[in-house]
């Protein structure tokens, strides 16, 4: 069984936000500042003119980390949040009671409320639009002009993502919390 993850060569990101648009378009995300499954973080240049640290400025695309030990899943009282057989953390809207405990527990602020269903929504790695058809891609990955994102099976030693993670140094966000994210930032 495949176990999906994503590697991000974040230094290639140009903050064009094509990934955000593709995600919204493909998954029918509502408009509005609070409604987004993915985003691009911006680290401004540090220092004061003329002593600017140019290297400190970068863009950091992010989204749900699909943690192996997902805090959102642990706190969900009705098991509305669950990890499927591919290691993708999903929300069963029928079981969601909108207690928003998962939003409070998620260290990455990756969840928001979908005003149509009044349930909590999040990145699904395009499970219901692509993976279900056997297409091992995501909308954000497919649209990225600088190929920041690599999506694939972490358990397949020959997959592109496995090769990348073997050959490139990488880190994950907030590793100290023990969440074991499946998003890897390549350095």
């Amino acid at each position: 069984m495949a176990r999906y993850g994503m590697a991000l060569d974040y230094k290639n990101c140009i903050n064009c936000k094509a990934c955000e648009v593709a995600c919204k378009e493909e998954n029918g995300i509502l408009l509005g500042a609070d409604k987004h499954r993915i985003w691009v973080g911006v680290n401004d240049i540090r220092g004061q003119w003329p002593n600017l640290d140019i290297a400190s400025s970068f863009f950091q695309p992010s989204q749900c980390q699909h943690c192996e030990d997902a805090p959102c899943e642990e706190v969900c009282p009705t098991q509305a949040t669950f990890t499927n057989e591919h290691g993708v953390v999903l929300v069963d809207a029928d079981k969601c009671i909108l207690c928003t405990y998962c939003m409070t527990a998620c260290p990455y602020d990756a969840r928001y409320i979908d005003d149509r269903t009044m349930t909590v929504d999040k990145c699904t790695f395009c499970s219901d639009t692509r993976l279900v058809r056997g297409e091992i891609t995501t909308a954000c990955q497919n649209t990225c002009p600088t190929k920041v994102r690599t999506f694939g099976d972490l358990d397949d030693p020959d997959s592109e993502i496995s090769v990348l993670l073997r050959n490139r140094e990488h880190f994950s966000l907030k590793e100290n919390l023990g969440t074991k994210p499946k998003l890897f930032y390549l350095t």
Binding site: Q60, I97, M103, A105
Partner: protein, 386 residues
Amino acid sequence: MKLHDLIPYRENISFGFEKTPVTIVLAGITIGLILFYLYGVANFFAHGHHAYNVTREHPWGFLVASYEFFVAVAMGSIVTASSGIFFDLHVIKPLIKRLLVFGLLSLFAGFTAFLFEVGHPITMVIYTALSGNVTSALFWLGVFYPLFMLFTMLTFISYAEKVGPTKLFALFAIIFANSSVLTAGSIFGLLNTRLFSSGIFYQIEFMATAILGGIFLLTLITVMFKRDEFIEAVVALKKVSIAILSLLLIMYIVRYLTGIYGSVPGKVEAIQHIYHSTNFIVFELGLGIIFPLFVVAFGSHKKIGAFCIASFFGLVGIMFSRINLVEGIQVVPLQTMKIKEYQEVPSLITSYTPSITELGIGVGAIGVFILFMFIAERVLELDDEL
């Protein structure tokens, strides 16, 4: 078996009351609060969760704080009463039935706020039973509360009608009351992500303030309704409150020091933001802890007039402790690098002010609680033959 054998209701039920300045003012405040509650509920049905000021970064708001306040008063009342039964504390005897009923009613008042916090309460009941998650503190709250309510009711019936194993029921009521409040504290304590509440502080603080809440409520009732027969019990409980207030004061000081020590990112900002705020210094600490402690330590040991005023402010302090908790856990955004769309720069401190709808439901629930207590007083026989 007749209904009267199960529930000790009055033969002549009347909803009139003696019109004194205190009761008239209290009636006016209660009606005002209930109208405010109804306004909040009407707004909720008109606009749903959009009537709340909660956001993606600050998903929990005033209703969570309000609910946790009522839970505290419920637990304190019921543990005090059940301990009176289980440990044969004769001094508490005149209060037992009243405390058990008011504790239950406080819980129900909390539910009137919580009902509008959870988006899908019916789904909650169904799926907590069908697919409950044992790693979730909220799930265990759903397990312990029904047991807490069940054994409180059994204790009340058994004690009032003098049937069944009263002490055993009282013991289970104590166990499940404590379990419920510890679990309520754990909802915040187990949030590893939120350094403000993560740890054991809130489990203990919830338990301590819960017992204080029960004592404060009882004192207010004793003085406002001139129940002289309760004074001996209140004086005894007042002494208990010295220990609890002192413990809380020490916990607050130590927590502040550990919170700022080493300037741990995410923790120090939240601790400083809350501990330096008016809500904390004036209401939670000043009125909620130091003022009652001062009154108990230096006031008359036999009279309870000043302690009644301290009890009112003590309850206000407990309410603010819940507000500060809910704000504290969410005040530091988790993703400071994430910019909002359209290049809006994120703040290091999230902002939240309750909407009029949230205030209506959360504060108005106090009016609902007073109404419940009034009806219980009129319908049930809560006085013991001494």
